[in-house]
């Protein structure tokens, strides 16, 4: 996978803007909860032994005859966590369009974050060694990781992973609070979705849920003519009656499920965007559009 120069040019115009402030590892472009040597004044504090005398506000001392030290807001980097759902519903060979879009969204977000020296960590649920990590500050190795992960996870063999458990394990291995992008089709029960997102919320992260739906997920029309459907995760085959009524029922169920997902995200201060794919779209364009709609990158 590579991003085109045109896409990179579009991404250069974007920057990562978190809604909250986090403690960072090093100097960066984001306001930190830490007080330090920034340019933005934060507060006065009584002078204590050991404080640098250059921090004393001498004008205030002349007026109040007391020693105060000026404190400034620190600007530090923010850790960006990208959680890719590597379950078979995205990585099945015949469904990999969703996986390709998810990896492109991850690549685009990573590119923007790395441009401001923000570290990026990518976790693939169901990847090698159950959960794969990559932490780095360079873009090329990140792409290599995504390509390697793609080669690993994309398969047509049924495999049913426990996304909630995988998400919990991935969340326990995060070091600092940061921004967390969860990219999945979220086609599993809402309680499981809530549990998955709760794993990262418990780590005090700013969560963004990105739903990626494929052509077969959005409508039953594409199933017309086929007598049986095969579950990509369990390998179970079922005959689904394709008709106008079934089409309406399925559309209604999908809308209800997405509405439940949206309600959950809103009530838990999780941003939520959904993207439905078709066969004939440019994935990078869809990825950039999704990135822009998240409100995280401005």
């Amino acid at each position: 996978m590579r991003l085109s120069p045109h896409t990179l040019k579009l991404l250069d115009a974007l920057a990562l803007r978190s809604r909250r402030s986090f403690y960072g590892m090093r100097q960066g472009a984001h306001r930190s909860q830490r007080r330090g040597h920034g340019v933005e004044f934060a507060e006065y504090r009584n002078y204590e032994l050991g404080d640098n005398p250059r921090a004393i506000d001498w004008n205030l001392f002349s007026r109040s005859d007391k020693l105060y030290v000026k404190r400034y807001l620190e600007e530090e980097n923010v850790e960006l966590y990208i959680i890719l759902d590597g379950s078979r519903s995205l990585t099945h060979t015949s469904l990999r369009l969703k996986w390709d879009l998810a990896t492109r969204i991850a690549a685009c977000a990573s590119y923007i974050a790395l441009a401001t020296q923000d570290p990026v960590t990518i976790a693939v649920l169901g990847g090698p060694n159950s959960t794969s990590y990559w932490g780095g500050r360079a873009f090329a190795p990140l792409l290599q990781f995504l390509n390697a992960a793609t080669e690993y996870v994309v398969s047509d063999a049924p495999e049913n992973i426990d996304v909630v458990d995988e998400a919990r394990r991935a969340a326990t291995r995060t070091r600092f609070p940061g921004i967390c992008l969860v990219i999945s089709d979220f086609l599993f029960p809402t309680p499981s979705i809530a549990a998955t997102l709760a794993s990262f919320r418990a780590r005090n992260m700013e969560i963004h849920a990105i739903q990626v739906l494929g052509p077969l997920d959005s409508t039953l029309t594409n199933l017309e003519g086929s007598s049986a459907c095969l579950d990509s995760e369990t390998g179970e085959a079922r005959g689904i009656e394709i008709s106008g009524a079934a089409e309406e029922t399925y559309s209604r169920l999908l809308v209800e499920h997405n509405e439940a997902l949206r309600s959950h995200c809103l009530s838990n201060q999780i941003s939520y965007v959904s993207t439905t794919l078709t066969d004939d779209v440019q994935l990078e364009d869809v990825a950039i559009d999704t990135i822009k709609r998240m409100g995280l990158f401005v």
């Binding site: 052509p215 086929s226 579950d231 439905t276 066969d279």
Partner: protein, 617 residues
């Protein structure tokens, strides 16, 4: 080649049509393969599990819309590849049924020739019904379409039932000439009682001569009628003829209607014996005082003797109108011209300002100012143009016996030997378009006769008067014929006409048939079509009074009534029809390929529209 709904369809490569059943099987196999052995992988059954389920095995094949579209596309492509074409091998046949008067004659088994013709035509049409389209005409003096062009065999058979018997004479040769020459038809079938003069007619022309053996059949017919007025009363002279080879006794009777009573008065019958093929004049008298029109009938005296053709046994005659005066436009008076010697001719001189266009008139050495609307005799007009279109008069020339040629059959020359005419001075005439030259000098016509707007006229380029029967008998007979032909009521005759379209004077406002049935006739412009013998009343609205004039119309024709004679049908210049070049097959490959392309586009559009569009939630 197969014929469906009258259209013949063929294929250049018919073996390729087997691709259609093979394609159907292949499509069914493909669609079943798509459904059973290659199930579609879906993300999860999380939502799909809530939909109605069905068994995946032993499922009946219910083809979706896409199957039918693909099947149609495949079929169209296979048909196009097979070179399907629409063959125009359907023959376009014209069926002409002779419906002239002679076709009404009965055979010994009681079937008329027209019925025989219809029966034979029905048989031929039925035999060729699969590959032919028919156009049916009735032919007598002209062609009358009976069916719409190129109808199917059942419609043609149905139209034959409505083909009427005509009273008209036969003019089949010229009537069918346009049909034979027309390239729009592949074959012309003619059913007539005539025989073909040239036996080797092309295959495109089929002449079916109705077989008839009329040797022992008898027909009696009326050849002509004339009414004679005398101080002793009026009478009708009927010229009757028999086709019987032996002397035949017949009865001739009349039935006259008077103007003051609608009840008919019978006259006769008069029984006479007819010599074979000889005409006999039978006088029916006395007529009622106020007779308006009469019907004259002739039939064999012996009731056991059957008359084969009944249509010509009756004839009609109408009494002339009251106004029988003739205006003389001349520098001389009537006695000076000898016209007072003509019995019954009432002459009056022209008034100085009188307009003669609506008056029966004799123009002596003067030309009418306009085309007369009443019978007119123009005698020796001065050099120059006449009122009729194309009519001119040249300078007089001198010769004692200039007549070298004449129209022998014209009624004006009856009992006249034109070669004996002595004419010292004459002018050459350029006859009007509506007239026929009747006398010719070596340099051109010197007498013309014709009819314009329903009024007869005669123009002579020589002097007729003074009328003197003793000194110049031939000229006097010619003059009497002219007077009789023009002013027949003056000479004791009657107003008669022939069937067909009659041109009327401008003053005629309506026409209605008063006998044998009473009905209104439709005027078309200044003409009326009369297709049935009878008496017609013409109403003129000249001035403030409406006056009605009766005129009898008959269908006298010796050729039609002489049923024992076998007339011939002259068919010359029959163009040969090349069956291979006249029929162009209509290829359907492009049409089918285009239809397949359209269906393909429709399928693509349908797929694109049914596809989910990338969007936002």
């Amino acid at each position: 080649m197969i014929t469906i709904f009258g259209s013949t369809i063929g294929a250049i490569f018919p073996l390729l049509l087997t691709a259609i059943p093979l394609g159907v099987g292949l499509l069914v196999y493909i669609f079943r393969r798509r459904g059973l052995n290659a199930p579609r992988v879906v993300s999860t059954f999380f939502l799909l599990a809530k939909l109605p389920q069905r068994l995946t095995a032993r499922r009946s094949f219910v083809p979706p819309l896409q199957f039918w579209l693909e099947l149609l596309i495949l079929s169209f492509l296979a048909l196009a590849a097979a070179g399907l074409f629409l063959s125009s091998s359907t023959s376009r046949i014209v069926v002409v049924i002779d419906s002239s008067k002679s076709m009404a004659s009965l055979s010994r088994d009681g079937e008329s020739r027209l019925q025989t013709a219809k029966r034979l035509a029905r048989l031929d049409i039925t035999l060729d019904s699969a590959t032919s389209r028919f156009t049916v005409f009735a032919a007598h003096n002209g062609l009358v379409p009976i069916s719409t062009p190129r109808v199917s065999a059942p419609a043609a058979l149905e139209s034959l039932g409505s083909l009427p018997q005509s009273f008209h004479s036969d003019n089949l040769t010229s009537a069918i000439a346009p049909l034979i020459a027309s390239p729009e038809y592949d074959a012309v079938w003619i059913y007539t009682d005539k025989v073909v003069a040239t036996p080797s007619s092309p295959s495109a022309l089929r002449v079916v001569s109705i077989p008839h053996n009329s040797e022992n059949l008898t027909n009696v017919w009326i050849r002509s009628l004339e009414a004679t007025a005398s101080p002793n009363g009026s009478s009708i002279g009927a010229e009757v003829v028999s086709s019987s080879p032996a002397p035949l006794r017949i009865d001739v009777s009349a039935s006259c209607v008077t103007s003051d009573s609608s009840r008919a008065t019978p006259i006769g019958p008069v029984s006479v014996s007819l010599a074979p093929k000889q005409s006999t004049l039978v006088i029916l008298a006395p007529l009622p005082e106020a007779w308006s029109h009469c019907k004259v009938s002739a039939s064999p005296h012996d009731a056991s003797q059957t008359d084969a053709l009944a249509l010509d046994n009756d004839a009609w005659i109408a009494r002339p109108s009251k106004d029988d005066s003739v205006v003389l436009a001349s520098a001389l008076s009537g006695p000076q011209l000898g016209l007072n010697a003509l019995p019954g001719l009432t002459l009056r001189s022209r008034q100085p300002t009188e307009n003669l266009s609506d008056q029966r008139a004799i123009y002596h050495r003067v030309s009418p100012a306009s085309i007369p609307h009443a019978p007119s005799l123009v005698v020796f007009p001065p050099p120059g143009a006449l009122a009729w279109s194309g009519a001119t008069v040249a300078q007089p020339a001198h010769s004692d016996s200039p007549v070298t040629r004449w129209a022998e059959s014209h009624p004006l020359l009856r009992y006249v030997q034109p070669a004996l005419l002595v004419i010292p001075e004459y002018s050459l005439l350029e006859c009007p378009d509506s007239a026929t030259p009747i006398l010719f000098s070596p340099r051109g016509a010197i007498a013309c006769a014709g009819e314009e707007q329903g009024a007869r006229y005669v123009i002579t380029g020589f002097e007729l008067f003074p009328f003197d029967g003793i000194r110049s008998a031939t000229l006097s007979v010619l003059t009497l014929n002219m007077i009789r032909w023009l002013f027949d009521d003056v000479a004791g005759g009657s107003r008669q006409g022939s069937l067909g379209a009659a041109t009327l004077p401008a003053t005629i406002s309506s026409a209605s048939m008063v006998a044998p049935t009473t009905r209104e006739l439709t005027l078309t412009g200044r003409s009326v079509s009369i297709d049935e013998p009878g008496v017609v009343a013409f109403t003129s609205n000249s001035g403030t009074l409406n006056t009605a004039t009766l005129r009898a119309f008959n269908a006298f024709s010796d050729s039609e009534s002489e049923i024992s004679n076998v007339s011939t049908l002259e068919l010359s210049n029959v163009p040969a029809r090349n069956s291979s070049s006249k029929r162009e097959d209509i290829p359907l490959e492009r049409l089918l390929a285009a239809a397949a392309l359209v269906l393909l586009c429709l399928d693509l559009i349908r797929r694109l529209r049914s596809r989910s569009v990338w969007g936002r939630i």
